[in-house]
């Protein structure tokens, strides 16, 4: 059981908006910035969002991140078939003195 809690799965049709939550605590999300990674099937993870809401160069603007208190969220607006992947949130935990990843959320495009 991960310290950062994500829903195991979510789905949507092309063009739909989906959101993935990441719930933590004061020692992790409440204190530190959150990053999001996309892992397409059979490939290495890729940085999707850093510092809560910043997109690296080349990441489409349909991906957005936000953080409030001890929770964070990744939104995909206008879902596309190529967005079918696993998504992980990540942040530092001051109590555990280590980097955490959420359990991951599998996004299925119907």
């Amino acid at each position: 059981q991960s310290v950062l809690i994500q829903p195991p799965s979510t789905s949507g049709t092309p063009g739909q908006r989906v959101a993935i939550s990441c719930s933590g605590s004061n020692s992790n999300i409440g204190t530190n910035t959150v990053h999001w990674y996309q892992q397409l099937p059979g490939t290495a993870p890729k940085l999707l969002i850093y510092s809560n809401d910043q997109r690296p160069s080349g990441v489409p603007d349909r991906f957005s991140g936000s953080k409030s208190g001890t929770s964070a969220s990744l939104a995909i607006s206008a879902l596309q078939s190529e967005d079918e992947a696993d998504y992980y949130c990540s942040t530092w935990d001051d109590n555990l003195n280590g980097l955490l990843f959420g359990g991951g959320t599998k996004v299925t495009v119907l």
Binding site: S2, N32, T33, H35, Y37, Q39, T43, A44, P45, K46, L47, Y50, S51, Q54, P56, D86, Y88, S90, T91, W92, L96, N97, G98, L99, L100, F101, G102, G103, G104
Partner: protein, 120 residues
């Protein structure tokens, strides 16, 4: 092009030792922290630890402290992950990743992963 190139897949027996590598190119390797991340079959990502190649300052996840050794040789732009006594439970994909200098603890460049299989 900035990239991290990892060593090839390994098949080992329980009790054997192993050292896998991660070579960086296209940037100042010594100036960025390199992390290692485990992904067990069908499971999520787990942070193992990080190393700063410039001075080999190393931090381990409490879960992996004493189980693995992370090292680096800045003269050849390479980081390593090493086991002295492999177990079947070490079977996984191991990724190295570069820590961003823009955002603390974000990994902006990833290697393709090294598949390690431990089986008798």
């Amino acid at each position: 092009e900035i990239q991290l190139v990892q060593s090839g897949a390994e098949v080992k027996k329980p009790g054997e030792s192993l050292k896998i590598s991660c070579s960086g190119s296209g940037y100042k390797f010594f100036a960025y922290w390199i992390g290692w991340v485990r992904q067990m079959p069908g499971k999520g990502l787990e942070w193992m630890g990080i190393i700063y190649p410039q001075d080999s300052d190393t931090r381990y996840s409490p879960s992996f402290q004493g189980q693995v050794t992370i090292s680096a040789d800045k003269s050849i732009n390479t980081a390593y992950l090493e086991w002295s006594n492999l177990r079947a439970s070490d079977t996984a994909i191991y990724y190295c990743a570069r820590q961003s200098i823009i955002s603390a603890n974000a990994f902006d460049i990833w290697g393709r992963g090294t598949v390690v299989t431990v089986s008798s």
